[in-house]
Structure formats: structure tokens, C-alpha cells
């Protein structure tokens, strides 16, 4: 694939009519666009698609909506309309093969914008993962709303043909199919046999019958096969694109736009602070200015003199973010850990980790403190105390903990109730209000933001201005994306 073709300097017009090029609302983006477009449109299309993808991200994570649920689709379509992205709303609402000029125009924009973003998001593994995860959500949503006949056309256009298993074969395994699939009328369904890696999302959630490496799926689960195909295609294309970055970047007009695209939307990442917080004050700070996730880690550390890896990472980076120096940090962890272990063991096994958090070891990257999103989505296993307490605590545990702190039972009830409903960050904001005895109603999306807001209130309006990140330098290190499993919606 020659990526030069997408640059505006190429003059060849698209061959064939719009009808031939864009027969269907949904496409696999196999062929790159070859038309002329001006810089203005290039930029607009890119930004609009980033907006679209970020809307999708917000829907599943911040809003906690289930992928392809009714509320999800409704929310996304609503957002697209209010943001003025009517052509995307059009493509997502009823994917099909209508033939009006507006349809062709929408498909053209969708096509070009997708390829522009490939260039912007092929740069690092983290960006690629984010991009692929969002594009997959988009694809699935559009496939899910497609009508029957449009689906058939789509299969035909893309040369997809599968044959179903025989009735005999089906009868032999029907018992297992009933056991494994969440559907009622198994008897009337036709089943297809595909390799397990073609339907990984079904495997992951245990919603498919597997035998000998094959998955047996009904027609309605075909979206999994298609999205797996699409994912593979997309990942390969991104890999190829990244190898051609050099050629693209010869055009200076595009470089800064493409490089800054993802960053232009993300907020402060708290990886550097000006203020210095002495470790002696952590105990008192933890009572009021730490969000509950950090408070519980602090208490656990003081109590057990140990935290498992996930906890050390989450808490250690937070401490760095609020302004604990590396030397203080080392002393802090050492003092606690050496209560249960030899100094030598700490220095050998744990000090590295602390220095690592401050970018002094390993890849020497200045890691950013975790955002709420990341904390909420982090897997938490046996023995772990990290994570988001509103998500990773049993209701009764959460309630007892808060009551144990001596907060007003009514307020505690509200917090717990919010957490129970899955509004983790709103619960956190309510907790903030309770602790500070004020009704601020903050939108919390970062533990360090919680800390700063709290300090503002306590110090009486003295603004702790977070140092603005130099966006240009940070670009290569999208640390808050690192390690996060974007393939996995909530």
C-alpha cells in the first residue's frame, strides 16, 4: 500500500463513480482514497473523527454504558448531533446502501477521515491500541444497527462466504450449545464452525461453545468474526503505515497536525509538579485530601507494611504527582517495608520500583500518575488493594469503611448507592463533598485532580496551578495509555 497516495499532491481522480466506490455505508477500508483534498478539509475531517472516537470512549468508560446497548447507541447518536457531526450520525443510525448524494458524501468523508487517523495513530503501540479499540466499537455499532438485506449485501460485497454445519453435527452437540449460549431458540438456529481465534470476544466472555479449537456460532454472532477480520486488517495496515511515517513526515504541513492529534484532546497528566509535599504530612493529608482509593492504599501500607505490585504502582505514582520527591519516596517506602523485611531485600527488590516510577530506571520514562479511567479498568486480583474502591469493593465493605471513618450515615448511603449503580466517579465526587463538608459537585477524573481541588479548599482559595505540560515534548510518551487494555470495554 502506498501511503503517498493520500497526500494532497497526488492528482489522480478516483476511478469509477461514487456509486462504485462507496456502495455501502459500512466498509472495511481496504483501499486508500486517491482523491484531492485541501489542507483545510484534511484537518477538519481528522478532528471530527477524533471527536467521534472520543465520544465512543466516553460512552463505554466514563458513562459506563454497555457496548451496543440501547442507551449506548442513543448516547452516541445524540452526542454526534450536538457536536455537529451529522454525517457520522447518518452513517451510524441506519447503515445501509442508500444512494443519495448525502450518503455518498458521508461515506467519502468517513473513508478519508479513517485513513488520515491511521497516519496519526500508527506512531506508537499505545496509540495503535487505542485507535483499533475505538474503530472496532464504531464498526460493531454500525453493523449492529444494519438491517437484514443490507447485511447480505455487505457479505456479498466483501466476498464473505461461510457454510453452516449439518443437522447431524448440530444434534451431536446441541446439549453443549444450549449450555454455553445465552440464546433461547437454539433449535431453530443455523450454526457455523469457525476457529476460536476468529471470535475472541466471545471466547473472552465465555459466550460460545468451544471444541477442539473450533467455535460453534449462530448467524447473529457473526459480528465477532467480522470484527476480528477487521481488527487484523487494521492492525496490519497500521504496522505498514508506521513503517512509512518517514515519507509522510517530509510534508511539514501535516507533521504537527498528525502528531498532536491525540494529545490535543487529553488533559493534564500530572507527571510533573512544582509543589513539594513532605512525607511527614502524608498521614494528615490522607484523611482529607486523598481520594478514597489512595487513602485505603495509604492505610493498608501503614497497617501491613506492604503493598502488592499494582498498589505500589498506583500509590507511588500518585505520591509523585502530588509532589513527594524521589528521596522522600524512597525513605517512605523503605521505612514501611523494612518493618517486615531486611533492608537488603528492600533495596534489591523494591527500591528499583520506586526509582522506576520517577523515571530513573529501565526505559527511564517519566510515568504519569494513573487516571480514574485507568484505575477503574485495572484488573484487581486476590491480595490486591488497589483499584477504585467504588468499583472494587463489596457494597457492605465500602459502607462499613465509610461509616468507620465517622461520616454522616445519610451521605454514606448516597455514596454507596451511587457506587452500586456503577457511577464510580460521581460517588467519588460525593465522597469529596462529604469529606470537605461542602457542596462542590466536582467532576473527578484524576486522583491528583482530587488532591489539588481539596488543597484549594483547605488552603482557602490559594490556587495550586498545575504546571502546564509542554505538549510538543510529551507527544512520544502517552504514558497514561500505557499498559491499559483498550480492547476491553467495561
Amino acid at each position: 500500500m502506498d501511503f503517498k497516495l493520500k497526500r494532497k499532491s497526488i492528482k489522480t481522480p478516483i476511478s469509477g463513480s461514487l456509486k462504485e466506490t462507496y456502495p455501502h455505508d459500512l466498509q472495511f477500508y481496504k483501499v486508500p482514497p486517491t482523491c484531492d483534498i485541501n489542507l483545510q478539509e484534511f484537518e477538519t475531517l481528522a478532528l471530527e473523527r477524533v471527536t467521534l472516537l472520543r465520544t465512543l470512549a466516553t460512552a463505554t468508560t466514563l458513562k459506563g454504558l454497555r457496548l451496543n446497548s440501547e442507551e449506548y447507541t442513543e448516547y452516541v447518536l445524540g452526542e454526534l448531533r450536538t457536536q455537529g457531526l451529522k454525517y457520522y450520525a447518518r452513517l451510524c443510525e441506519k447503515s445501509g446502501c442508500a444512494e443519495t448524494a448525502a450518503d455518498f458524501e458521508a461515506r467519502r468523508k468517513d473513508h478519508i477521515a479513517h485513513f488520515i487517523l491511521r497516519l496519526a495513530y500508527c506512531r506508537t503501540e499505545e496509540l495503535r491500541r487505542w485507535f483499533v479499540a475505538r474503530e472496532m466499537e464504531l464498526f460493531k455499532m454500525r453493523f449492529a444497527v444494519m438491517r437484514g438485506e443490507a447485511v447480505d449485501v455487505f457479505f456479498k460485497l466483501n466476498n464473505l462466504c461461510y457454510t453452516n454445519i449439518t443437522d447431524n453435527e448440530k444434534n451431536e452437540i446441541i446439549h453443549y450449545l444450549r449450555e454455553c449460549l445465552p440464546y433461547q431458540n437454539i433449535d431453530n438456529m443455523k450454526f457455523y464452525k469457525v476457529k476460536f481465534y476468529e471470535v475472541l470476544d466471545l471466547v473472552k466472555t465465555r459466550k460460545v461453545y468451544l471444541s477442539g479449537g473450533y467455535a460453534y456460532i449462530p448467524h447473529r454472532d457473526f459480528i465477532s468474526v467480522l470484527s476480528a477480520l477487521y481488527r487484523t486488517h487494521l492492525r496490519q495496515s497500521l504496522a505498514i503505515a508506521s513503517q512509512h511515517l518517514g515519507e509522510i513526515e517530509q510534508d511539514e504541513r501535516l507533521v504537527s497536525l498528525l502528531k498532536g492529534l491525540h494529545q490535543s484532546y487529553s488533559g493534564n497528566d500530572y507527571s510533573e509538579t512544582k509543589s513539594v509535599v513532605p512525607i511527614e504530612s502524608l498521614d494528615s493529608l490522607s484523611l482529607k485530601s486523598f481520594p478514597l482509593c489512595m487513602r485505603q492504599l495509604h492505610e493498608q501500607l501503614r497497617m501491613a507494611h506492604h503493598l502488592k505490585h499494582g498498589g505500589r504502582l498506583q500509590y507511588g505514582l500518585f505520591l509523585k504527582g502530588i509532589g513527594v520527591t524521589l528521596e522522600d519516596s524512597l525513605r517512605f517506602w523503605r521505612d514501611e517495608f523494612t518493618k517486615i523485611m531486611e533492608l537488603d531485600k528492600f533495596e534489591k527488590q523494591y527500591a528499583y520500583n520506586v526509582r522506576y516510577n520517577y523515571g530513573k530506571e529501565g526505559s527511564k520514562r517519566n510515568y504519569s500518575p494513573f487516571t480514574c479511567l485507568k484505575i477503574i479498568n485495572t484488573p484487581v486480583g486476590p491480595g490486591d488493594c488497589h483499584g477504585c474502591p467504588y468499583r472494587h469493593c463489596d457494597t457492605s465493605n465500602l459502607k462499613n469503611k465509610l461509616l468507620g471513618y465517622g461520616y454522616d450515615p445519610q451521605a454514606v448511603h448516597e455514596v454507596v448507592d451511587l457506587a452500586k449503580k456503577g457511577h464510580y466517579q460521581i460517588a467519588c465526587s460525593k465522597y469529596f463533598d462529604t469529606v470537605h463538608n461542602e457542596d462542590v459537585g466536582l467532576g473527578i477524573n484524576h486522583p491528583n485532580q482530587y488532591f489539588e481541588e481539596s488543597q484549594k479548599i483547605i488552603k482557602g482559595g490559594i490556587k495550586v496551578e498545575p504546571k502546564k505540560e509542554k505538549v510538543t515534548i510529551k507527544k512520544e510518551e502517552i504514558d497514561d495509555l500505557e499498559g491499559m487494555d483498550f480492547d476491553e470495554p467495561l
Binding site: L200, K204, G212, V380, G383, D394, D485
Partner: protein
Amino acid sequence: MVGQHDENLLSDMLPIYYTRLFPQNIFCRWLTCGSYPHPVSNRELSFTLADDVYIRYLSINNQKDFQTLLQKKIPHKLDIGGVYNTKPSIARHDSVVLARELVFDIDLTDYDEIRTCCQEAKVCEKCWKFMVIACEIIDKALRDDFGFQNILWVFSGRRGIHCWVSDYEARTLDSPGRGAIADYMCLIMGGDNQNKKVNLGSDNIHTSIRRALNIIDQYFEQLLEEQGFISTADRLQTFLKIMPDENLKSQTEKVLAKMSEASLDRWKAFLNIYNNYYRENSNSSRKIKYLIEEIKIQYCYPRLDVNVTKGFNHLLKSPFSIHPKTGKVCVVFKPGNAKNMKLDEVPTIYSLLDDSSPDNAQHQVNMRVAVKNFQEVVFSLEKTEAMRRRNDANTSLDF
């Protein structure tokens, strides 16, 4: 030979162990076959030397190289990484991992909240049963559900087991694929703040979970007795916290607290209470429909370190490496034989190299058996690989 471990002796003994006892030939064949179609030199090895000095990105071209490298560095621990697009030692900045066995790591420390006989680094015959169950369940799922055939099981040297799947499909599986398999196998979720860690919902129980439960049932009562899961007041409280239904919980507490401490009796009494309660309370039955199954899983089901499985390039201790803390050999065992494995019968570097050790003869035999187990897996891997390549060649000729 428990208690005779001395790390200082290792540096003297390891060169002899690597030359005389380490199955170098079979090991290299395993790596070569598992790296195909890339040369074995693209495979990353990593050594931990004395005093925890750590070297990554090593590689070997053949067995001779390997022997030389071992003798030069005398690693206290030997880890295996992924297969890169180039030799891992050069051009590190743009090298990528192309293939890697699908691996599983199960460690008894993850069972600390349920096992009562030992904690942390300790391990005994009683808690080894958890590993037996884990091995059986995972091996079965890998074979039956995913159709994998070339599966190597290795004792990790102290308190856990490793599993290496070398089938071509498994080796070339991408990260999401590994993640999906790990999640498919993982039933226990949640940290210290979540008491009930298993949720099966109220629909049918998936075939693979049914099968796992059948395996658990073979051991459950024995484990219950040996571990005394619900014998003391504390353990009973932990057990009660799993119950999602307050009434059932208080009923159970009332009866069980008065009984004798024998866990099995208490369990049977609980089953009675549960059955009656379930029959009489249809409105809360959805929530507790599979409570018994959920409890069994929480207490017995394998607790995987999913990050090891999900990562494409997680280093994992090599078979027949010596565990630097225990001196034990990371022996290969047959999954069907896990239940007969005795921890003090695992050969150590000391018992193997010291003729006067009382265990010497027996451990020599056990070591040979372990090597033979390894050979069997490698032979079968080589056979399937050869067949696969022939088939691939045929299909490509058809075009």
C-alpha cells in the same frame, strides 16, 4: 534434603549440573522447534547470575553455543523469552516479538487467602493439591476446548507450576488472543475488598465450567477437611461473607457456629440449609442459584497470574533451571501424574550431585523420568510441526 540449601555452593555446583544433568540436547530441540520458522538464535534467553545480576537479550545458535554460554556465565536462574524478528542482542530499538509459547503461571501465594496450612513461600503436600486441581483443569481446557496438543507442564521449583503450549496456533497467537484465553480460564476476580469473587450469573453453567466443577468435586471434600476451610470462627466468618443473601447468611451462621469444628460436617449442614432455603425462597433464588458452585470455585479453581499469559514477552523460568532459593530442579511432569507428585521427591542440585546423599539414587531416577517426560513432549511437538509444514507445503502447491 530440605534445609540443606546453601546458595553459596551453587556457583561451584552449577557448571557440573549444566554439563552432566541439564538435558541440553532436548532443550535446544524444544527451543528450535518452538521458534520455527525463525531461527533459534532469534529467541531471547535471560540469565540471573549470582547476586541477582540480571542479563537479558541473550541468544544461542546451537547446543554448542549454549554449553559455552552456560559455562561462561553460570546462571543461577534461566529464563526464556519470545522469538524476535532479529537476534535479540542486536538492533534492540526496532525489534519485535513475533512468536512465543502460550504460557500459564500458577503460584500458591495467590491462594494465601484460602489455604490454611501454609502461607507465602511455604508449601506442603496439603496445599499442593490446589496445584493438582489447577493442572488438571487447565490441561483439559487447553486440549478439549482449544484443541492444543503440545503442552508442557513444569514445576516452578518452589510453590507453583508453569504450563507451556507450543502448538503453532498458540505460539503465533496475538495479545488479544492470549488475553481472551486467559479471561476464558479466569473465574476468580476481585481484590481483598471483594469477598465474593466468583459470579456465575443465573443462566446455564458453561460446559467448560461444568467440567472444571467435576474435577473439583473429586478433591473438594478432601481439601475441605485437610484445609478446614470453615472450621474456626474466623474462617467461618470469611465463608459467611461470600453469601449474597442476608437471611441465608444468618441462618447458616446460627447453625454452623454451634456445631463441632469439622469442616466437612459443617459443609454438609450448610448444603441442607441452602437446599431448603433455595426451595422456599424463589424470589431471591436468582442471586444464589449457583452459590454452591461459586463457593467451590472460589476455594478450589486455579488462580492464574493472567499478566503472564497475556503478555507476549513475559520471561518465564526455563524447564530444568535450578530454583535459586530451594535448589530444586524445575522438573517436567505429566499432567495426569501431578497428583502422585511428592515435593520432597523433586530432585535438588545437591541430592543429584552428592553421591553420599541418602536421596541420591532415587532423585537420579526421578530426574531421568523428568527428562523422559520432556523428551516425549518435544518428540510429539517435532512430529506435529513436521506434519503441519508438509500440509502447508501441499496447500501452497495447490495454488
